[in-house]
Symmetry: C2
Subunit: 324 residues, 2 copies
């Protein structure tokens, strides 16, 4: 591997001159520049970023910590992050905390070792409160940990509200909310939005707690069997919705005639099950992009116009709800 010295020697200039050329900084004679550039090409010289970073204390690398990787929310957000990161010349280190606080702080430690320029974290751990003391710029995804820590969140309250609005407007009288783990703030917010609309209309609903990805079929079945009058179901994931529809078929219910169903996430699944699923779409890629845009501002010490970005959701109407 050629280094800056090799290049300098080849052209008979000092390393300082070569440095000026590769950084496009300071005076350097046009002819010398040409010579140096040729030598760089010939030797296939690529500056060592470690030496550079050692001096400059920036790494042009950002760290991303997510509690899961194989989850459409996170990998879509990651896709958005990577996209903009690339445009700004940042590298992305990806870490999977597996919801493990221990592991999370291990990653953070690695990050400071590597002079990471900034961190994007989607986490439900209780460590989060400690992060605001970190001197590294940080943006949280899908959660606000403190007024002072910039965030990008999806408008979950609106998601719940829109779902209720749609179901009730389409004629549903007896609603149930099959939601995600109620410890999650996002889930609480969806509930809040859902209830908010119902309150406005003096309606009530049942709530059943499930997992997003592996919801217990038996819990769904038990509930729906015991409540045969249910005619509107709001699910906190498309997966839950798919399972609900499965159960409904077995109970001899027609969707959307007897029961209307709304999912969450607008995953591929929503378009592939039949009838096609009405669902709430979170703009995940956009969330990723907004997160890295915020982070970039923080790194450049610019003022954030919007410290807490709330990304709107969108109701995607398909065939599991009735047209109004």
């Amino acid at each position: 591997m050629a280094n800056i010295k090799n290049v300098a020697k080849k052209v008979n200039v000092s390393v300082a001159t070569v440095s000026r050329v590769i950084n496009n900084k300071g005076y350097v004679n046009e002819e010398t520049r040409k010579l140096v550039e040729d030598a760089i090409k010939e030797l296939n010289y690529i500056p060592n970023e470690f030496a550079r970073s050692l001096f400059k204390k920036v790494s042009k690398t950002i760290g991303v910590i997510f509690p899961h990787l194989s989850n459409s929310f996170y990998y879509s957000v990651l896709e958005g992050i990577e996209e903009i990161a690339f445009e700004h010349g940042y590298k992305v280190m990806i870490c999977n905390s597996h919801e493990d606080a221990e592991r999370e702080s291990e990653y953070i430690k690695q990050f400071v070792k590597y002079n990471i320029d900034g961190i994007i974290i989607g986490s439900n751990s209780n460590l989060l409160s400690r992060y605001k003391e970190l001197e590294i710029p940080i943006v949280t995804i899908d959660r606000i940990i403190d007024e002072s820590v910039p965030s990008v969140t999806s408008d979950n309250v609106s998601g719940g509200y829109q779902a209720a609005l749609k179901l009730v407007s389409s004629g549903c009288k007896n609603l149930v909310h099959f939601r995600g783990p109620s410890i999650l703030l996002t889930v609480q917010e969806r509930s809040k939005g859902f209830q908010k609309f119902l309150n406005e209309k003096n309606l009530t609903c049942d709530t059943v707690d499930l997992a997003f990805i592996n919801p217990e079929m038996s819990l769904i079945q038990q509930y729906l069997e015991s409540k045969q009058n249910i005619d509107g179901v709001f699910c906190d994931s498309d997966i839950i919705a798919a399972k609900v529809m499965d159960v409904l078929v077995r109970l001899g219910k027609k969707v959307p005639d007897d029961v209307q169903v709304i999912g969450y996430d607008n995953t591929l699944l929503a378009e592939l099950i039949s009838p096609k699923l009405t669902t709430i779409s979170q703009r995940m890629i956009e969330m990723g992009k907004e997160a890295i845009i915020s982070l970039n501002c923080l790194i450049d010490k610019e003022e954030l116009i919007e410290k807490h970005k709330l990304i709107p959701i969108e109701l995607i109407e398909r065939d599991t709800t009735k047209l109004i």
Copy 2:
């Protein structure tokens, strides 16, 4: 940020001693060690990995380049990679080439700037042939570019073969293979395996080329309408299979009674559509793990026991095929 000098000064020892303590290398008095360790804690000292890497020329970081991120194959492989990488103390840099060769080589360039210890690449680009000249250890996923470059691939030939075996054994007479883009080696191999079994039985089948993720519904429909006698369908993705089943329902065909269907990938989707999809499972997480295990050997200059790892597939029988 405290550095090694600060620690040394605090305990009145030399930086060498501190270095010995943090690296657990060379002689150091138990008492001095205690003192140093205390100072490290007190100053919250974390060694700068850049300075270290500058010297040692290893970064404890590996680079991963995939053509897509939001694709169950790649993010599952990524999950496997990250898992083992963490265990071995490696950081993972993730890059999305978007199938763009230009971008791919830009990433490679970044990697050498950062003294990346090794690269895992899943790519269909024509650049691949150049990588074997790279001095950085490299492992390819899902593709063999050269006898000399270690790889981890899924047994696609067997995948095709097993699918044909299952369909024919279950009584199918008129088969069609809705496959992925035929430029892909993986797709060609599945075809090869599928045909191989058919040849053995003196059977033939039609082949229709589609996209994995966004297969054109109309092509599927056209084909199935024109060939009403089809009774066995092998699809190169679960998504294709889901769309096929959609079309079949509209054509009034019963699955699996009239037509049997086999998908590929064993995604979440397979269990959520009804009837539940029989599919070929690629062990993607395992592929990721095997890739990083190979890479780790290369980095440590150990001999690879198996240069080209072929990960077996598995037929997951569900309800879109008949029991034999």
